[in-house]
Amino acid sequence: MLRYTPGQTLAHRLDPRSKLAFQFGFAIAAVTVIRPEWTLLMFGLGVLSLWAAGLSVHVALREYWIVLATLAIVPVIAGITLSFPFFDLDSAIGSAQAISRVVPVLLVSAAFVYSTPVRDTRAAIQQTVPGKVGQLLGVAVSLTVRFIPLVRRDVLQVREAIRARGGDVRSVADRAGRITVLSAARALSRSERLSLALQARCFAWNPTLPRLRLRFADYVVLLCALALTLSPLAIRLLS
């Protein structure tokens, strides 16, 4: 599963606030400008982000395979019509083009997750979004990032336990039902234990957050973020 991995790459050294700003600007630029050559440029930038984080394109795409597979189905569904010829190619192509603009955003987010510790993300959110909203958002993000891999591991364990006792011969509905019920029970139990651990270690809504410091490279990234945010407007004005 995609997660933070310690390293010394350019992306690892960047301040999480500049990385968040870059993601924001990138998402706006990638999704709002509808031009094939622009989408290609966004792909290039996405791949560059992965390179800066030391993460291969292959690994990033593999981690997102469920998302990508789901996205790949959308154009097919979009092309289906109820009357002859039962498939509208233009609708499918339009949908595929829209989806192709999402993929570079996924690549940049993969670079962010891979190169940013959770507590730095929390710090960046709490320092960017003021007040209780920022605190709530920061805690929600950090807990979600911590909790999801554990729940995923529980689901895998339940699946293995079913397989280990010959459960493969049972129907898909039976197995799915068991996995859902057992995984939900484990998730609840795990959330209770996590809550206990947080209490035992004096959980605070507003703890001392890690030091964040903008360096030269961060200012360059922030400028790129600003340029990307304004790019749709600039393109419209120029054309």
Partner: protein
């Protein structure tokens, strides 16, 4: 000093017996105490009151004279808790981030947090593993990270709930060696277990629980023959004495 006075606690009011039924005890600073008993005897329930994770139905728990219920933050900074399964204690992905979690919650300065993380990790011989992902560590190393997480709060008392479960002999020895060092440095060690063979020779006092009450209390050699009565395994050598 931890003082427990007539502690009563029940998880479920419909249960026939409370989980803890009138427990009174005192644990001095710097003492090494084993809290022993069979499964369901109330060991974990008892120590969770030390850390204010549970609130007594009756009675009182005081840490250095301060009520754990009235001041849970004081209780949690003075009594470090290491859970039975280290995985349950981890709230961050990397070693350094997890150990820093407690001090950050206390609102300490960055310099103080860094110092505490360094000291705690050095105490468990993991000073060079700060950036490692916790899941990449062995079971023994994960136990030591859990201990470091508790130590970073700089507690006067360290409670360890079944710390040797699932560890092989060398990992148990490694954890035990670090506990000995901490004890020599003045931290009181409160060890919860149903199998006291590893720690028997280090403890100064054994408190044996049975059905939520203190059934046995005394120094290890004096109570060794009685412990099997409450389903606690003791070393062969101790039994023959």
């Amino acid at each position: 000093m931890i003082t427990v006075d007539n502690l009563v606690y029940e998880y479920d009011e419909s249960a026939s017996d409370p989980a803890l039924d009138g427990i009174s005890l005192t644990i001095d600073d710097g003492e090494w105490v084993i809290i022993a008993g069979a499964n369901g005897s109330g060991k974990t329930t008892l120590v969770r009151h030390f850390n204010a994770l549970l609130t007594p139905d009756e009675g009182d728990v005081r840490i250095d004279g301060t009520s754990a219920v009235d001041n849970p933050v004081h209780a949690r900074t003075q009594v470090g808790m290491v859970f039975q399964s280290p995985e349950d204690q981890f709230v961050a992905a990397t070693v350094g981030a997890d150990v820093a979690f407690g001090p950050e919650n206390l609102g300490l300065s960055h310099e103080e947090i860094d110092r505490r993380v360094e000291t705690a990790l050095a105490a468990v011989n993991l000073a060079d593993r700060t950036d490692d992902r916790i899941e990449s560590l062995s079971g023994g190393e994960q136990s030591r990270v859990a201990i470091a997480g508790a130590l970073a709060m700089e507690p006067a008392h360290l409670v360890l709930d079944e710390p040797f479960t699932g560890l092989d002999w060398s990992a148990r020895q490694s954890v035990l060696d670090h506990l000995k060092t901490l004890h020599e440095d003045g931290t009181s060690i409160i060890l919860v277990t149903h199998d006291i063979r590893d720690v028997f020779s280090h403890a100064e006092r054994v408190i044996g629980l049975d059905n939520g009450t203190i059934a046995i209390e005394g120094n290890p050699s004096a109570v060794s023959n009685s412990l099997e009565r409450i389903n606690v395994r003791v070393p062969e050598t101790a039994r023959n004495e």
